[in-house]
Symmetry: C2
């Protein structure tokens, strides 16, 4: 038996998120199905980040155990032949048996892209949230600074979520203009349910002038989802980097 770690890139447009659900296409479901086809074993992958419906990834991580004699590094090539073209394995390597993607310290980086120009650009529509209201990038960057560090992010967690602790650490949070896009880039040791999208929605409120940047400190202190801005749409969000401290 060996444990194999897959790095998985996908376009989330056509999927109901990562997590297996009966009757609808999910990333986890596609991975299990194609691994079963390839390895002729029942496989259940363990995912690192359960991305939502419509969210994209360059590098999500899945781990599974197998008795196959196929060398771990070759599995990526063979699996890509079985997967639909909107899911592509970037690498497959053997890892120690104790490695579990959700039980070891990690740093994740997400990008949230906003297309901010007078009219939507069709070739960007699946990977950036469009708004024609001009956003003040400098004010958004000022507001972002209040979120860096270790905080209780309860205000930035979907109200329905049940978690032991809502304390997380953000290492970096930048807001930058790239042509007609605004890119919010956030690196942290973990994120609560909808946390990045609520941060994006709140920073957009600041960018529109509806909230002063300093207000973000008060929103943190409130520890109340109602205090923060709306949850920004899923299509703008991409998991771009995943580092494990093993």
């Amino acid at each position: 038996m060996k444990r194999v770690k897959l790095v998985v890139a996908y376009d989330g447009t056509a999927y109901h998120g990562w997590q297996l659900q009966p009757g609808v296409p999910t990333i986890e479901g596609e991975l299990n199905r194609s691994l079963r086809e390839l390895l002729q074993e029942e496989i259940q992958v363990m995912g690192a980040s359960r991305t939502d419906c419509g969210v994209h990834a360059l590098c999500n991580v899945a781990v599974f155990d197998t008795n196959t004699r196929i060398p771990a590094e070759k599995i990526s090539y063979a699996l890509n032949q079985k997967l639909p073209e909107d899911i592509r394995i970037q690498s497959s390597v053997q890892v120690p048996d104790y490695f579990h993607p959700r039980h070891c310290a990690s740093k994740k980086t997400y990008e949230y892209r906003i297309l901010n120009c007078p009219f939507p650009i069709p070739t960007k529509r699946l990977y950036a949230h469009f708004t024609y209201v001009p956003l003040d990038v400098e004010k958004m960057a000022q507001a972002a600074e209040f979120l860096v560090g270790e905080h209780d992010f309860k205000s930035f967690c979907a109200a329905a979520a049940v978690v032991e602790s809502t304390v997380r650490r953000i290492y970096e949070l930048s807001v930058e203009k790239e042509g007609s896009e605004i890119v919010i880039r956030v690196q942290g040791n973990g994120f609560l349910y909808n946390m990045v999208r609520i941060i994006a929605g709140t920073l957009m409120e600041v960018g529109r002038g509806n909230l002063e940047p300093e207000k973000v400190r008060e929103i943190l202190d409130a520890k109340d989802r109602q205090a923060a801005g709306p949850t920004a749409p899923a299509c703008g969000l991409t998991l771009v980097k995943y580092e494990f401290e093993v």
Copy 2:
């Protein structure tokens, strides 16, 4: 009667190109249909660039005549309500009655994107051609220089095309690395049928080491489609800029 010029952006993935064809979705067909719905007149747009099946545009141009009382500048907003989300008008302005997008001097800029890394990235698959064979960008750029200027591009024109002259002028042709993508950017006073895709296919042969950069001069001199490289796939091509000298 007034003449209106539309700047049109589209994701070409779902269309059989610009030009009207019975029974299949085309950009021209969608524009005529939605203008008819909006203006309650029979409208036939005149397109500037008849892009191929699967090719994208940020700024193709269409012109039409109308008796509507809707101010020209307002048409863009109203038309976007009628169009599918993979076609979006970027601007609508009144132009002189003599303006015809194919009969006046213009400069067009195309980008051809190649995703060059070990595995395909799903979120790029519709807008860049993927190859895992490492390409030598410097050699591609050297080869590109031979194509700049006024030349007979007969070798870079689809063999079946019938045109009066195959002489065109390329003002600029650059090959640059952008992360894992290679971007071929070409500006010219006009392009023959498949010309940019044949240039891209030929430069890729140079990048792979199958052709020396200097060979491109001989290919030009041959005035024979057989001498050049293959036609690169449509998905990598986007019309990014269109300037008229009116």
